[in-house]
């Protein structure tokens, strides 16, 4: 009442701007529309439309000689992918790699994030935060190239092993190299959400658990881990999807068995110019990630993000 009376007084003095503001105040849907239209227009007209165009293209073909797109509807791209053992193994290999990278990064990130969130002093925490963010600014390509130097014959790794007295290994151009580099590159993307989730756990809940008689490990297992799970799942979305579609790391550090979904898509678009086949192949990671997202939502990931 007091508000309306005051607003009423001000309307007489305020003018158009105030009238608009009041009108908007009384009509929440108008405010919502105003706020939502630009971002939604962007996403629907650009992003969603792009995905739809890609989906449509997957059902087309190309003229084999000129590689121009021929708009005849066909399922042949999909049948090629699913009936060919080579492509099936590519899909399995990629999913396996993505899962492995996600699990290992989760294991490596958790103690680190725990230390950062709950043990480190505020100054140490800032320093650690800087330490994680800084590698994001070093070019992805330059970092992967450095790993070549580490894994190459007589490279940093071989040199270190020799000095410790162990025998040399041959990791370059193997899927172990690809796996290691993936784990390395995506690690900050796993640490940050896990840290965010761990940081939010109220001290009181930990204390309550201890008051009830739980030891450290029991508290970690039954209280901290479940509360941090949304963060872990959110981080895993990044590591899984980033690995699922990457072609540059397999191209640079992978060998003859480093054929992943990303490589197939890339060679078909950037080299063979078979856009419809690349689009059909692209549907595979989309379906996989859609399934992953549904599981993640069930586990509560989106509450932490």
């Amino acid at each position: 009442m007091a508000v309306t009376a005051e607003a009423g007084e001000r309307t007489e003095r305020g003018g158009v701007r105030l009238r608009v503001a009041s009108a908007l105040w009384r009509r929440p849907w108008a405010r919502a529309t105003l706020l939502l239209t630009p971002p939604l227009a962007w996403f629907i007209l650009l992003y969603l439309a792009a995905l739809v165009v890609l989906l449509i293209t997957a059902f087309w073909q190309i003229n084999p000689f000129t590689t121009s797109i021929v708009r005849t509807w066909t399922l042949s791209n999909f049948t090629t992918i699913f009936s060919s053992p080579a492509y099936r193994s590519v899909i399995l290999r990629t999913v396996g790699m993505a899962a492995a990278v996600t699990v290992v990064d989760g294991i490596v990130a958790f103690p680190f994030a725990y230390y950062m969130a709950r043990v480190a002093s505020p100054r140490a925490r800032t320093a650690l935060f800087v330490a994680i963010l800084l590698p994001l600014w070093a070019s992805y390509l330059a970092k992967v190239y450095s790993w070549l130097l580490i894994f190459t014959h007589d490279g940093v790794l071989d040199w270190s092993l020799r000095h410790v007295g162990l025998s040399q290994v041959h990791l370059i151009y193997t899927n172990w190299a690809v796996f290691s580099v993936f784990c390395y590159i995506w690690l900050p993307f796993m640490i940050i959400p896990v840290y965010a989730a761990l940081e939010r756990i109220p001290n009181s809940q930990i204390e309550a658990s201890q008051d009830l008689g739980a030891h450290t490990w029991r508290t970690l297992r039954s209280v901290v881990l479940p509360l941090a799970l949304p963060g872990i799942v959110a981080g895993s979305i990044f590591t899984f999807s980033l690995t699922l579609g990457d072609y540059i790391t397999p191209l640079l550090v992978g060998g003859t068995s480093a054929n992943f979904i990303g490589n197939i898509i890339y060679t078909n678009i950037g080299i063979a110019n078979n856009v419809p086949f690349a689009a059909a192949m692209a549907m595979v990671p989309i379906v996989i990630m859609a399934a992953y997202l549904l599981c993640a939502r069930a586990l509560g990931a989106f509450e932490a993000v």
């Binding site: 508000v3 971002p39 962007w42 103690p111 600014w137 109220p202 990671p285």
Partner: protein, 281 residues
């Protein structure tokens, strides 16, 4: 809570992870001084030659400026659109709210190559010319999502009572927004913007498919890597970028992750925090 033994073990783990994270970075910096233009271990000799090459080479400079330009525009778009949709999704309930949330997860959840080829197909289909505009469209799409995630997470943790109190005290919608809401989400906005800028600056996969003949810095780096004659120059450029970004990153860490409002949530007594976390999801 943690025993001393556990703390020591954690410290060792942190040390190992930090070493793991920084060995390749150290190699990048070291090989910026490589005498030979082919990388091999151990390093063949040290020279400052490549620093002067990089300084006088117009190509990486143009690429760097283009990357900065694209990142600034994309982050600007992201700040506006990302916070708008975060605010709308937080405050209002309406038909399609869940679908929008799902749509907004896609650019980060789907691999970059899919965003890249999808946009490439769209641009070819509609005849939009490949250039700076198409690069910005590609980058801004995921930048919006990054800012959105950060801002809506903050909104969920901020008590709605403050805004209500402001309105009760007679502030107009605009005033509440400016004096109460905005300051509360400011640090989340800044950290989201900084992360979006960083992701856009180093973005390569989407850019490969949405760029025309121009080079952003990652594209120039990829060209230099495939050529193989200027690898130390690449390392020089990357080293300079790392050096330039140390200060903003330190500021970002202090503002966003390690300080401010987020910490207080941990020390709130049980009853309130119980209500807080329940209302968060």
């Amino acid at each position: 809570m943690e025993s001393r033994g556990l703390r020591i073990a954690l410290r060792i783990w942190v040390g190992l992870v930090l070493a793991f994270l920084f060995v390749p970075i150290a190699l990048i910096v070291l090989y910026a001084f490589n005498r030979s233009n082919i990388e091999s271990w151990p390093i063949s000799g040290l020279t400052l030659h490549w620093f002067s090459v990089a300084w006088h080479d117009p190509a990486p400079r143009a690429a760097f400026l283009l990357s900065v330009k694209v990142a600034l525009i994309s982050t600007g778009i992201a700040i506006l659109l990302g916070s708008a949709v975060a605010y709308a999704l937080y405050k209002f309930t309406f038909f399609g709210r869940e679908a929008i949330s799902f749509l907004l997860v896609l650019p980060l959840a789907l691999p970059g190559i899919i965003t890249g080829i999808a946009l490439n197909s769209l641009f070819s289909f509609t005849g939009i010319k490949f250039g700076v505009l198409t690069i910005v469209i590609g980058h801004a799409t995921f930048c919006i999502v990054v800012v959105f995630n950060n801002v809506i997470a903050r909104f969920r943790r901020v008590p709605g009572s403050l805004a209500e109190a402001s309105t009760d005290l007679g502030a107009r919608g605009w005033q509440t927004l400016r004096f109460i809401t905005l300051p509360m989400v400011a640090t989340a906005l800044i950290s989201g913007a900084l992360l979006a800028f960083a992701l856009s600056f180093d973005e390569v996969i989407v850019t490969v498919f949405t760029a025309g003949a121009q080079n952003t810095l990652p594209l120039w780096i990829f060209g230099a890597i495939r050529l193989g004659q200027q690898l130390p120059e690449v390392n020089v450029v990357v080293t300079i970028v790392i050096a330039l970004t140390v200060i903003p990153v330190v500021i970002a860490a202090r503002v966003a992750g390690a300080g401010a409002i987020t910490r207080s949530a941990r020390n709130v007594p049980v009853a309130e925090s119980g209500a807080g976390t329940a209302g968060d999801g």
